[in-house]
């Protein structure tokens, strides 16, 4: 029962956030909420890999950053009116965002195909290695700002929507999160998801039943990469700026933490995880200041680090598991 209500309550809360921010006189918070929603998209796609596919990828930021760079680079070409691969560049979101998704999915296909030859620690490390490769690739691309990154003049226009308006952009991201959750929810409960989970439980058993585990896991890897690419494109639009930091391995770590905080192997858990993680990042420094410990304001991580360890050690099922009890176990 709680499982049914949970997403509806969540959606209602998310819908209410911008008016709430204005009401309490902190309208800039809409920007924080947008970040939360965008990272939630990245986190739920990573959970498809970790929670349902048993693939602990430590390079999810690669696809996130790639999506961001695709939209940044195309918009840059459009602004400077330079052709890209002989084609005129456009700044239309309806063209750029699908391209960002496609490029990330294609990268995930290649990286996944090579990485899935390994398992366990080696898989963690090889996904990390590929992400670092892409990181250094973008650092070295002087044409697109190298280390300093690339500015975007304005958000990619979308017909019928005023993209420069922060509220519209927030609701657009929220809508996309809902779409991603809907697709993943269908996928997880379809045959595809069942097979994926059976491979996670026992690879040899799935193989002996005649299932090609590589094909299923690679498909999941591509879907996750595509979702992260979408999130990256949104993040580029949100920040108006792309830089190699979006591909850095610590960001992969952050997304991983969101998944674990929320609850591995649950559909909505990672959304909660993104909320907690980014809210802590935003408000823990303020909380220290408010509590009369201004010295800790800058050093909030000194508390966050141990907090993370405690959560890992003692609260394995994440906040979603805590809220939903036994019901969280199934999807």
């Amino acid at each position: 029962m709680r499982r049914r209500i949970f997403p509806l309550i969540g959606l209602a809360v998310f819908m209410m956030l911008p008016p709430l921010a204005t009401w309490i006189g902190e309208p800039y918070l809409v920007s924080t909420f947008t970040r939360i929603v965008i990272f939630a998209i990245a986190a739920v796609t990573l959970d498809l890999l970790i929670g349902f596919g048993g693939m602990v990828s430590f390079g999810h930021a690669a696809f996130f950053g790639l999506g961001a760079y695709v939209s940044g680079i195309i918009a840059h070409h459009a602004a400077e009116q330079i052709t890209l691969f002989g084609l005129p560049a456009t700044d239309q979101a309806l063209i750029i965002w699908p391209l960002a998704i496609l490029v990330s999915a294609a990268a995930a296909l290649v990286i996944g195909f090579l990485s899935l030859r390994t398992s366990g620690v080696h898989f963690i490390m090889i996904t990390l290695a590929f992400a670092q490769m892409l990181y250094f690739l973008f650092v070295s691309m002087e044409k697109y700002g190298g280390d300093d990154g690339l500015m975007m003049l304005e958000r990619n226009p979308l017909p019928g929507l005023d993209m420069s308006d922060d509220w519209s952009f927030y609701y657009l991201c929220l809508g996309l999160l809902a779409v991603v959750l809907f697709i993943l929810g269908r996928l997880i409960n379809a045959r595809f998801g069942m097979v994926l989970r059976s491979i996670k439980q026992s690879g040899p058993r799935a193989r002996s039943l005649g299932i090609s585990s590589l094909a299923y896991r690679l498909t999941a890897f591509c879907i996750a990469g595509a979702g992260a690419g979408l999130a990256g494109a949104l993040m580029a639009n949100h920040n108006g700026f792309v830089s190699p930091a979006l591909l850095h391995w610590t960001l992969s770590g952050d997304i991983l933490i969101m998944v674990v905080l929320g609850g591995i192997g649950t559909l909505y858990g990672p959304v909660l995880g993104a909320v907690i993680f980014l809210a802590l990042e935003e408000f823990l420094p303020l909380a220290f200041e408010g509590a009369g410990l201004p010295g800790f304001k800058e050093h909030w991580r000194v508390v966050f680090g141990p907090l993370l360890i405690v959560i890992v050690l003692f609260a394995k099922s994440g906040l979603y598991g805590f809220l939903l009890g036994k019901e969280a176990a199934d999807v």
Partner: protein, 308 residues
């Protein structure tokens, strides 16, 4: 040719340096099965301890003693408080908990030493060059690092393959239950091995002080390189860590030194520089991905374990 020789030595120097870190990390993984992302923090602890000791005492020898001691103590505390609880957990938990440790140690360092990098001078006695080949002067300090690293590698080999402590360590990596049934305090053994790995990392940090700046985040950069090393070598194998460290050290150094020149033969100079810099940074990751695709368990996978 002389330039190549010099760069090759630089590569070996980076290699033995990485080995000091990789040896501890691979030992810890091979025996306890823990991925310790916070190994870089121990290296940082060593570097800060040696910078502090140098400032207080003015003696570089004392600084080099302080580095492994401090890192060893930090490592011991880390094992007892956190790492010990991670032995039975899966790799994901280990990655996350030790990621939390990194955040903690970086902030502790920021609170105690500030965010400005500290600089250590190379002690005057070592701040000269020797001519190994006629016409090719080489800094004494770097040569010293190579010698120290090779010495440690040799000692480690003897320790692990010839001593009683080594046979306990090897036994621990094969069958812990049997070992504890034979009356060995496995908990204590693990804590000591962890502290020993931490001391090696701290020693590397102390040696690095004069070459690099001592700053927050220095651990993470080298940590990723170290992971590349042990994955290439085969996780859990000291021999593999040595081979992997030299391979990575040499590939990285030579790539940075010679790729720009090579690419300039083919591309316009302006583009070549950018691409070469990128390729040089990517070189070791390409090497690692290539080796894992070719041999998924690394070059020297440890024997007698099912790779789990």
């Amino acid at each position: 040719m002389l330039l190549f020789f010099e760069q090759l030595l630089n590569g070996v120097q980076l290699g033995v340096f990485l080995f000091l870190l990789a040896a501890g990390l691979t030992l810890i993984f091979g025996i306890m099965g823990v991925i310790n992302l916070a190994h870089g923090s121990l290296y940082m602890a060593g570097a800060f301890a040696s910078a502090l000791a140098l400032r207080l005492s003015g003696s570089f020898t004392l600084a080099l003693i302080a580095a492994p001691l401090a890192a060893g103590l930090v490592g011991l505390a880390m094992e007892v408080i956190v790492i010990r609880r991670l032995y039975a957990r899966d790799h994901l938990d280990q990655v996350l908990a030790t990621f939390g440790l990194i955040l903690f140690f970086n902030e502790i360092a920021a609170i105690s030493f500030g965010r400005q990098p500290l600089f250590m001078n190379i002690p005057p006695a070592l701040n000269s060059t020797v001519e190994l080949l006629p016409g090719a002067p080489y800094p004494v300090y770097r040569l010293l690092i190579i010698i120290a690293g090779l010495l440690v590698a040799g000692l480690l080999y003897v320790l692990i393959s010839r001593s009683r402590a080594g046979s306990l360590i090897r036994a621990g990596s094969t069958d812990q239950e049997m070992l504890s049934a034979l009356g060995i305090n496995v908990k204590m053994l693990f804590a000591l091995v962890f502290a020993f790995g931490a001391m090696l990392a701290g020693f590397a940090g102390g040696l690095a002080g004069p070459l690099l700046s001592v700053e927050i985040g220095m651990g993470e950069n080298i940590l990723i390189l170290t992971f590349v090393v042990i994955v290439i070598g085969g996780i859990g194998s000291i021999r593999g860590a040595f081979a992997g460290a030299l391979l990575v050290g040499i590939a990285d150094t030579l790539g940075r030194a010679f790729l720009p020149g090579l690419l300039k033969l083919m591309l316009p100079p302006a583009e070549a520089d950018g691409i070469a810099a990128g390729l040089a940074s990517m070189a070791i990751y390409i090497l690692m991905a290539g080796i894992l695709i070719w041999r998924p368990a690394g070059l020297f996978p440890p024997q007698g374990r099912s790779g789990a």
